[in-house]
Symmetry: C2
Subunit: 653 residues, 2 copies
């Protein structure tokens, strides 16, 4: 399996990292330029034989589909069959990979989902596309393996489409014209999911009253209709990132009044990783619940990597185009030009990227505001643009050319993710002048984008101690006209490298509750190195927890039902059901089995935490039975004795 | 190394668990009764040769001491030497284990810290102690190894002390009489730590204003004085758990106006673990930052296990005496009696247990309130008492005999931890009638305890979605007269078995910020099995993060300085300093070294996340240099041209 540099020697900490496949760098070679030699890789081997893609359905689960109003519109869900005959139906981001009835070949890409929907709108045209250039891939790798990947990727290419002259093909444009698109219907069905099974869990009046959520000002309807989706998209309070050139996409919606979404970051760097590993990470990410994935590659073969990713992704893909632009000018920020950047936007839009991070709010006069910061500018894109601005002493070209960017976005329906290049990278810099100056500019830019009906997300921090999080949400709501907020965490402390997924899950859960629409995950490798597959999974677990905690706190309809089903399974000692209902069934089962591996233990009324005598749930069941018998008996005695024997004890006030 | 049941086969998930030593159970034997055969254990081997106790100081760290007002009073701290000549001084819970100048033998126990302080008060007497009985250890294990452990433990025994007739030896009693004890001075020095090094990090006026914490109603002084400690203890708003029979204790204080504390749980169960493993867990827990440790053993050899734990613990030890009482009656809850329980309290108080969880608030009339619950009664002790009450149809004997318990507590200075036996074990049960009925009773009991000057903690939930957490804090403050709150999490969702340390760190951070004084950790094994060493560490990392996030949000003086030092080290690419300053230096280093293991990389101005061209921190440094040069140059040009060339661009409003 493709891998990368092995750590030197055994980790001193005894931490339990799985062994990695070894990649050998030529001794003494600078890690930046050394070619990779994969011990297990024969140059003639096709990609899919080198990949390790997990296709197994989850425990006790099968893929099912909710039918829409047209035969080519069906929404995937996952059905979990419990041992007591119940079915629990949950949201499913894993795509066709977990549908055994679909045969897949990564060299062909995923099945088409929506090119008919696009074609039916009759406002786009196929065209030759921009001429491919060597610099698109950095021009540096020419070994046999990479050449083969490029050739195979060429087989993946679809002919690009764009808006016909004068047309605007964004979902917002349709929404504002009163049109409900198939994409809107799809996401409405997806957000509701199937809910009949929830009746057992959310029908109790006392419980519903006591546990009633607090959405802190959101407006979440009991049932999401396509019309509601249209309204939210029309007013900019939600986005459906769906480039017309990404027909494999199973659309999703991002907005405060919908389920909180999670993004996973993948992508290589100059130091490590490979195309194969990135495709594996994509499939792995969506298996574990990523609603969108960003390809943040900054190393070699950025274009080819993205081909493989896009054609095989059922979720929206985001990028930061300035990275590839920087690679094209050999890493010299000062050499960036608007023309080169514009060309890169078109290149990526033709491939089908669904959203672009654009740091157009990082303006020249804001840069001096960062000089007293503890950690300066921590955004890659932000620092690149800051360098350009300072070197040329000119305003950020993304800001000055913003409307031209809008023209490109609306021709393909690429969604803006307006970057927070000046986000704080340490608690010390939280909520400072530079950060909020940029945020206010993002608000201005949102208005411009919306004049072009271009869908827009607003990116957010970063590193923010808990007591300063509410102010972030308030400022964003105030200045950005309810455009969806998309934060990175935030991290609530700085002293936990190796555990920043936890330090930031705390902030993410809180800001998700307060109204943030999408949470960009953080992995255990944050601040230390590029995440691998296991890190991707750990980051996703932490962020699915944060997102779900937010949904439950907001009172999102039905959110609590899965927790309730889990608790019922726990109380009834249905161990296999507990595992199947969890975010990570494999790990839950493995942890249980470390101390009680036998099958008989799967119906045991205890686990190794307390053992059979001390299991509180078991004892509770005894108590209940006794109480029911006892109370019936006491009641009979009372009546027989004319009311003298049993005197209820009043609870103390 | 002693271990336990190995998991069957390779974990399907590919999760990275370290290999475990194998313990073989006789085939077909019920896991409850099977004797353990340790492959690596020769019966004649002494305990300390079987233990694996980590004594190495942390990276770049050494133990130092803050001198108090008397020669036998010195407070441990950890000094971290940074590569730029700075020193950072942090709180240290790891005890003499990390002081290489102290030679230790677990069979002798730790050095004496405070028996002179106790003796100087001249209000206690040594006495023979209660007669040891076979049932104290469950009477079931008689193999050679256990017999040897018991004999070695006998060598650990100290002669117990108790208050002379009529005396009250609690810290609260002294505090209310205006006496500042050495314990109070110790914790005051410990809470402040050494702060001179912080000047570089918390002296900036703009930053202090912008980042000023919000303690949500706490009253945290800039410097903790022994007099302030006395006042807090006198009014019951803080406790110093410090049994007179625990002379090895390095005291700590638990209260809203002090650093948020973290408790780790250890202890065997009937299914798994051993005395040796529990001692290892103790030392491992305090290494990773546990401020107190609870021994929750429910299996064999409870008394002997506790001997080993107490004599070797520099942190307060808590227990739940009803567990051992239940073992003594062979697991039959109905057979529990007040006399047996009272005897168990004395047994444990003589050993030196610093705090007891006592579920005295779980009253008979509250039990029917749990019948409609999703997960009933999840507290072990709570369910045991509920069974007793229902079976006998009598009021909880802990409630009816509460003042007699107080008489025992005050003779040894054992602190109450009034148990939340009716805490919610699922989101569905959060904040229900049963939970708050018990909480109100805990408030009543607090008043009674305080009439006896017995120090008191209040235990709290549990499973509570984020939006319901504030109500928990409010109710506790309202009903429990500001006695310190000590919560288990709370967990904010139920669907993440395997990751409940994260699901609960979110709730713990929030409730810590709101005023909870101590957070009881949750490990990845929660709901699945007994935690092992690695789980203990993972739980502690999550909870040190939560506690620190709370301290920073509250604006605890100096809390933010360590984050700042970390951020400075990060910005200056002092990698070794980053590792040394983290909560887990070993893991941070190992993660970094997975992709960049060479020593040269430790001063590299990048890591493998972005590589050398894309490292934002590196680029920021370039930007700063350029900006400083550029601005100086522009300024000169401006002046030379009489003001015509340089026109500042105003930031947009």
């Amino acid at each position: 399996m493709p891998g990368r540099h092995a750590g030197a020697g055994l980790p001193a900490s005894g931490i339990h990292r799985r062994p990695r496949s070894t990649v050998v760098t030529a001794p003494g070679a600078c890690p930046v330029n050394a070619p990779e030699t994969h011990l297990s890789d024969l140059p003639a081997q096709p990609l899919d034989e080198r990949l390790s893609l997990t296709r197994a359905p989850f425990a006790a689960s099968r893929k099912a589909y909710i039918a829409g109003s047209r035969p080519d519109l069906r929404v995937p869900v996952r059905e979990i069959a419990l041992s007591n005959g119940e079915t629990v139906v949950v949201h499913d981001t894993s795509g066709p990979y977990t549908d055994p009835s679909v045969s897949l070949d990564v060299r062909q890409g995923l099945p088409d989902v929506r090119s008919r929907w696009v074609a039916d709108r009759a406002d786009t045209e196929a065209y030759a596309g921009r001429l491919r250039q060597a610099e698109d891939d950095g021009g540096r790798d020419d070994n046999e393996r990479i050449a083969r990947l490029r050739t195979e990727a060429a087989a993946l290419q679809r002919q690009p489409r764009r808006a016909v002259s004068g047309a605007n093909v964004s979902q917002m444009h349709y929404a504002r014209r009163g049109i409900i698109t198939p994409e809107m219907e799809f996401v409405a069905l997806r957000e509701n999911g199937r809910r009949e099974w929830m009746r057992d869990y959310i029908g109790d009046a006392e419980r519903e009253q006591r546990l009633r959520g607090d959405s802190l000002g959101a407006s979440i309807p009991e049932v999401i209709t396509p019309e509601f989706v249209r309204q939210e998209v029309a007013r900019g309070r939600a986005v459906i990132p769906a480039n017309i050139n990404h027909p494999e996409l199973e659309p999703t919606i991002i907005g405060r009044n919908f389920r909180v979404k999670v993004n996973a970051n993948i992508g290589n760097s100059a130091v490590t990783s490979s195309i194969e590993e990135e495709v594996e990470k994509l499939v792995w990410s969506i298996r574990w619940g990523a609603d969108t994935v960003m390809d943040l590659s900054t190393g070699r073969n950025i274009h080819t990597t993205r081909d493989w990713i896009l054609r095989n992704s059922p979720v929206p893909i985001g990028t930061v185009p300035i990275y590839q632009a920087l690679e094209k000018v050999g890493g010299v920020a000062e050499d960036l030009t608007w023309a080169l950047f514009r060309d890169t936007l078109i290149e990526q839009a033709e491939q089908g990227v669904d959203y672009f991070t654009i740091h157009a709010g990082l303006r020249l006069p804001f840069i001096p505001m960062t000089t007293r910061r503890r950690t300066g500018i921590v955004s890659r894109g932000g620092s690149i643009l800051a360098k350009w601005c300072i070197t040329h002493h000119r305003e950020n070209f993304l800001y000055t050319h913003f409307e031209e960017i809008c023209d490109i976005m609306k021709a393909y329906d690429v969604t803006f993710s307006l970057g927070d290049g000046l986000r704080p990278g340490s608690a010390a810099d939280a909520n400072d002048e530079a950060q909020f100056a940029e945020l206010r500019t993002l608000g201005e830019l949102t208005q411009i984008a919306w004049r072009h009906d271009v869908q827009t997300l607003i990116e957010g921090p970063g590193h923010v101690p808990m007591h300063l999080i509410a102010a972030n949400m308030a400022e964003q709501l105030k200045h950005c006209h309810e455009a969806p907020f998309y934060t990175l965490g935030p991290l609530t402390i700085d002293i936990a490298p190796g555990y920043d997924h936890i330090a930031s899950a705390i902030g993410a859960a809180m800001i998700g509750w307060m109204g943030t629409s999408m949470l960009c995950y953080v992995t255990p490798k944050e601040h230390l190195g590029l995440p691998d597959r296991e890190d991707v999974k750990q980051g996703l677990m932490a962020y699915k927890i944060a997102a779900h905690a937010a949904d439950v706190a907001k009172g999102h309809p039905g959110a609590r039902a899965r927790d309730d089903a889990m608790s019922k399974a726990r109380f009834e000692f249905r161990w296999n059901d507990q595992f199947a209902l969890g975010l990570d069934p494999d790990t839950a089962r493995d942890y249980h089995d470390e101390t009680l591996p036998k099958d008989a233990a799967k119906s045991a009324h205890f686990c190794s935490m307390c053992g059979p005598k001390f299991c509180s749930m078991k004892i509770t069941q005894d108590v209940r039975e006794y109480a029911e018998r006892g109370m019936a008996q006491k009641s009979a005695e009372f009546k027989a004795a004319g009311g003298a024997f049993y005197v209820p004890i009043q609870p103390q006030p």
